[in-house]
């Protein structure tokens, strides 16, 4: 089966600019997650979707971050405006059900200068 696709792989932007990341999960996986992984730390959940509804966005900085999952398939994560501390790898993952492990994409490495 195809894996979780993410794009772009790398992005460098200046602070206060905006950026968007795209994720296409494994076909049939209803649950989609966006995680932020800062260098030297474990992934931290930003938002969880079940189909096209938000299940958990308690750790999403909503003043600058937004995410959507139209039609319950692809998802986009946007940052506007970006701050230096947003430099991280943004990981998308999907899963079939809570008892299974996640399948992660390769991530998008964001550098804010």
């Amino acid at each position: 089966e195809a894996g979780v696709a993410q794009s772009p792989r790398y992005k460098i932007i200046e602070k206060r600019q905006s950026v968007a990341f795209w994720c296409n999960p494994i076909s049939g996986h209803a649950t989609l997650y966006w995680y932020q992984q800062i260098l030297g730390q474990g992934p931290k959940l930003l938002i969880q979707f079940q189909n096209n509804g938000v299940v958990d966005d308690s750790q999403l900085p909503k003043d600058r971050f937004s995410a959507e999952r139209l039609k319950g398939v692809d998802s986009t994560l946007k940052i506007q405006p970006a701050k230096l501390e947003d430099s991280a790898v943004y990981l998308c993952a999907s899963s079939l059900d809570p008892a299974t492990g996640y399948t992660f994409g390769s991530g998008t490495r964001l550098t804010v200068v």
Binding site: L45, A93, P98, A99, G101
Partner: protein, 113 residues
């Protein structure tokens, strides 16, 4: 709230020797436990999981993990380490029926020839 601790930032072992990467967790209910591996410039890959049943679970690449409820631990083990096992390892916990996994900050495993 659920949490994970990986007490060792780095583990060094010689090739052919057994390895252990430690993980302890905290949840209010019954846990689902997972190990993931991350190679340089790659996304996280699922290694193994504990849901219920036998306390010793086997996963990919010859890895296994032992669930110990009284010590709230889920240590990753391998009887004979390979140089190719060198990577970053993450432990994760999810409360039963909860959607999101919480990750530890990772342990860098280095296997020397």
């Amino acid at each position: 709230a659920q949490s994970v601790a990986q007490p060792e930032d780095q583990v060094n072992v010689a090739e052919g020797n057994p390895l252990t990467v430690k993980c302890t967790y905290s949840v209010s209910g019954n846990p689902y436990l997972f190990w993931y591996v991350q190679y340089p410039n790659r996304g996280l890959q699922f290694l193994l999981k504990y849901i219920t049943g036998d306390n010793l679970v086997k996963g990919s690449y010859g890895f296994e993990a032992e669930f110990n409820k009284s010590q709230t631990s889920f240590h990753l083990k391998k009887p004979s380490a390979l140089v190719s096992d060198s990577a970053l390892y993450f432990c994760a916990v999810r409360e039963t029926n909860a959607g999101k996994s919480t990750f530890g900050d990772g342990t860098t495993l280095t296997v020397k020839p």
